[in-house]
Amino acid sequence: MPLIEINDFSFKYYGAETLALKKIDLTIEAGEYVVITGPSGCGKTTLCRTINALVPQFHRGYIAGNVVIDGKNTREHTVAELSSIAGLVFQQPENQLVTLNVEKEIAFGPENLGVEPAEIRRRVEELIELFDLEHLRDKHPHEMSGGEQQRVAMAATLALKPKILVADEPTSNLDPKSAEIILDFISSLNKRDMTVILVEHRLDLVSKDAGRVVLMDKGSIVADGHPRKILSQDICQDIGVGVPKATLVYKRLKEHGIDLNSVPLTGDELAGLVKEVSSL
């Protein structure tokens, strides 16, 4: 059974005039790394919210179809029940941080689920180490930069030991180096069997790690497949998605009658492919 099964799911926020999600069919197996992208306002965040039941349990509205996460239909299970299956990290970390220091923040989730104190202590220390938060241990989240806050939010989310990490533009407030660190970390979590769903506009940073890109537009899924396949299609530019510059060069070269052997996703890949063709 797939870990995430979304069947013919539509959703309209209470009071809204248009559907935020239209007839979504999406199946994700355990261990996948899926990047969800699409123009601003296309329904990416709403789709994320369906995975831990925030839609429809917290954000109410019209629903049709079903979302089944790890065997649990989100119509019938609470956000609390799903919190140890799917952990969400949001765009604005400060909307997510609730306590007065880093230790309490990380411990907050597991405490609420009644995890043993010794186990909580162990998780807190492990995550402080993992996210390099030692120097912030006693700091109030509001004394931290956006990047530091996001690391704390990620640590707090992982403290619940979820099977699925859903990250909604987790790096948009970070400088590129800190973003790279977080994304490398997400990628390494995926290699250790964490199922990852990442919403991201900056495909140059993430497409090399992801196994799959889901492209959304106006509440629907309009393309779904391997990054090299999806990002080289014209539909990306048609709907306003920013493909990696190296991939754009590949497409421009085609117009000049130059066919590189594969679709590059990074600058080094592009250079490598040009070298290959030039030495033929």
Binding site: S40, G41, P176, A271, V274
Partner: protein, 274 residues
């Protein structure tokens, strides 16, 4: 003209965010401020409109020390869009958010309507006019916050991370608007981590680290410096990466900041396309 003279600032008097910052911004410039998280970029722009006041040093606006002006007075000249739109939006419709600022500044009814319509259209949110900002996506809310300030066309426009949450098309629209305002003589200052956005659109870049300015000059010079890239926690853009890698095999490919069309031309030359 805005000058900062040796400005230092510490939050709660303890946490030093700016250390002896001096700079000069002439009327009509378009400037990017880049730097690592916590480098002091946001603190710096909050000094421009008096939201923060220096602990030591001076901010001088058109020859007058800014301490003689209230935030309200400075806001007429210097519009600031904050990083988090939720700190700025408070009304129940997109249109009202934009109209509010214009009303405060005393514009006439028809002028308010014209500016509101034009700004909302340029940013692609005209069809959201009646919606509550709080029902919008993160990227859309960001554009509403931008619209509310852009519509007032202040003499100096300071935007803190305006490209966050924006897709490629929205970024282009935003760039077009900023360049348009700049052409009308407005000064544009943008805080951003988006190196490709900066390379494509900004002539001057100020790089910050640990509360100080570490480089200030033409964008191509500042961002070609590997030490600046490292200290600002930036990553080398894909095209520059590709150019450097190609340079090792084809020495006449320049290993510097590169625009897409330049790299395209180089590769076509190497591979002999049509």
């Amino acid at each position: 003209m805005i000058m900062m003279e040796n400005v230092s600032f510490a939050y709660d008097g303890l946490y030093t965010a700016l250390q002896g910052v001096s700079l000069q911004i002439d009327d009509g410039e378009i400037i990017a401020i880049m730097g690592t998280n916590g480098a002091g970029k946001t603190t710096l722009v909050k000094h421009l409109n008096g939201l923060l006041r220096p602990n030591s040093g001076r901010v001088i606006v058109d020859g007058v020390d800014a301490q003689h002006y209230s935030v309200a007075e400075l806001a007429r000249e210097i519009g600031l869009v904050m990083q988090n739109p939720d700190h700025q939006l408070f009304l129940d419709s997109v249109e009202k958010e934009v109209v509010f600022g214009l009303k405060q500044l005393g514009f006439a009814e028809d002028e308010i309507k014209e500016r509101t319509d034009r700004t909302l259209s340029s940013l692609g949110i005209k069809d959201l006019s009646e919606r509550s900002p709080f029902t919008l996506s993160g990227g859309e809310r960001k554009r509403v916050a931008l619209a509310s300030v852009l519509a007032t066309e202040p003499r100096v426009l300071a935007l803190d991370e305006p490209t966050i949450g924006q897709d490629a098309r929205q970024k282009e629209k935003l760039a077009d608007m900023l360049l348009e305002l700049n052409k009308k003589g407005r000064t544009v200052i943008v805080v951003t981590h988006d190196i490709e956005f900066v390379i494509e659109h900004f002539s001057r870049t100020i790089a910050m680290a640990s509360g100080s300015i570490i480089a200030d000059g033409p964008t191509s010079a500042v961002l070609s410096n590997d030490e600046v890239i490292r200290l600002c926690s930036l990553t080398t853009p894909q095209l520059t990466q590709a150019a450097r890698s190609l340079h090792t095999l084809f020495p006449d490919v320049h290993e510097r900041l590169t625009l897409l069309s330049e790299l395209e031309d180089e590769i076509v030359r190497i591979l002999g396309g049509v």
